[in-house]
Each structure stands twice: as C-alpha cells, then as structure tokens.
Amino acid sequence: MSNAITIISGVFIITGALAIIIGLIGVFRMPDFYTKLHAASVIDTMGTMLIIVGLMLYSGFNLVSVKLLLIMIFILITTPTAAHALAKSALHGGLEPVLNKNKS
C-alpha cells in the first residue's frame, strides 16, 4: 500500500520536473515576450502543482503537507499576479506583441 503511494508520488514529482523543463524549452523557443509568459505559466502551474502534490502524497497527512499546501497556494497567488504586472508593465513600456505570426 505505502509502496504504491511512493510510486505514485514519484510519478507526480518526475512529471512535474519534466513539465518545468518543457516550460523552459518553451521560454527559449517562443518568439516574443508575451508568448514566453505563456510558457512560463506552465512552470508556475503544472510544475508546482505536480511536484507539491507528489511531495504531499509522500509525506502523508501531517503539518509538513499543510506547509507544502501553503507553499503551493502562495505560489499560485503570487506568480499570476507577477506575470500580470509584468505583462501590463511591458505593454505600457511600449513592447509590442507579435500577433498572428504563423497561423496554425
């Protein structure tokens, strides 16, 4: 039983770490700043959520996993706010977005 939970949490954590790397590949590949922000939000949501949930599964139900939950909530509150402020400030700073460059 506990072995199964360890395996599941391992899958979660490693998928999360892979999601972070995919997000960073996206940051390198995307053509302009605003599209880079989309790639970065993969890191902030999927990476964070998967890794923290994996760690919570591993540690079980105690104060440690409450702290992990708090970390996740704080990250999920602050990072979109920072991304929003960043995008808004870039727009006001005169950074034009590239629109509809290559149609899918």
Binding site: I77, T81, A85
Partner: protein, 136 residues
C-alpha cells in the same frame, strides 16, 4: 502602481500573511531555523511592499518615521537592558541564567527578549533605509 487593481487586491491579501509569517519566524527561532534577524527583515518586507504599492506617503501615515527611529534605538536598548538586568541581579553582563530562579527558564526568557530586541532593530532599520531611499 495605483491603477494596478490586481496588485492592490493581492497585496491586501498578502501583507497580513507576510507579517504573521515574520512573527512566526521570530518566535520559533528556538525550534527551527529563524530568529530575530530573519524575522525583522521579513516584517520590514511587508511594510516595504505596502510602501511600494500604496506609496511612501501612505506608509508614512501608517508608521511615522520618528516612531521607526525610536524603535530602532529601543531594540538595541532592550538587548542591552536585558544584559544590565542580569548584572543587577548578580550575574555577568548578558548572563541570562540569573533572570529567573531556574537557570534554564532564565536562559529561555533572556533569549526570547534579546531576539525581540534584534527583530525590532532590524525591522526598523530596514524601514528607515526604505524611507531614505524611496523619494517621495
């Protein structure tokens, strides 16, 4: 930052949390990582966030610069005062064992008080620095 509605609302949520977390760090320095210095810095960070988002003038209305300066001095005074109290009660300077009948309880009390002194001084100094650097 005044027209950043999102920032203002999120700051409103976060500032009490940061302050409470700073106080948690302050009082749990005995058990885990942390202590007066770290707590003071985090506490000041909450005030600085307020100053950044609502403006330094609003921060001045919350804490008057004179009060901050007095508090910075008060922290050092508290630290030294604990030491001198130890001297008056028959020990050496900064020997907390004499503060209470039980040496271990005395040590605990002394550490709590001087950590509070460090925290107050550090937090006030950081806010003073912010006042000095951020032009109105």
């Amino acid at each position: 930052m005044e027209h950043h509605l999102v920032l203002r609302v999120v700051a409103r949520l976060l500032i009490p949390l940061i302050m409470l977390f700073a106080l948690y760090v302050q009082f749990h320095g005995d058990y885990g990582p942390g202590g007066g210095f770290q707590a003071g810095v985090i506490f000041a960070a909450a005030f600085i966030l307020y100053g950044i988002i609502y403006g330094v003038d609003s921060l001045r209305e919350v804490v008057h610069p004179g009060v901050v300066r007095s508090l910075a001095a008060f922290g050092v005074l508290l630290y030294a005062g604990v030491g001198v109290t130890g001297m008056l009660m028959g020990g050496e300077f900064l020997n907390y064992s004499v503060l209470s009948t039980d040496p271990v309880a005395g040590q605990h009390l002394g550490i709590l008080l001087i950590e509070a002194g460090v925290g107050i001084t550090v937090a006030s100094t950081m806010i003073i620095l912010f006042y000095a650097f951020a032009r109105p």
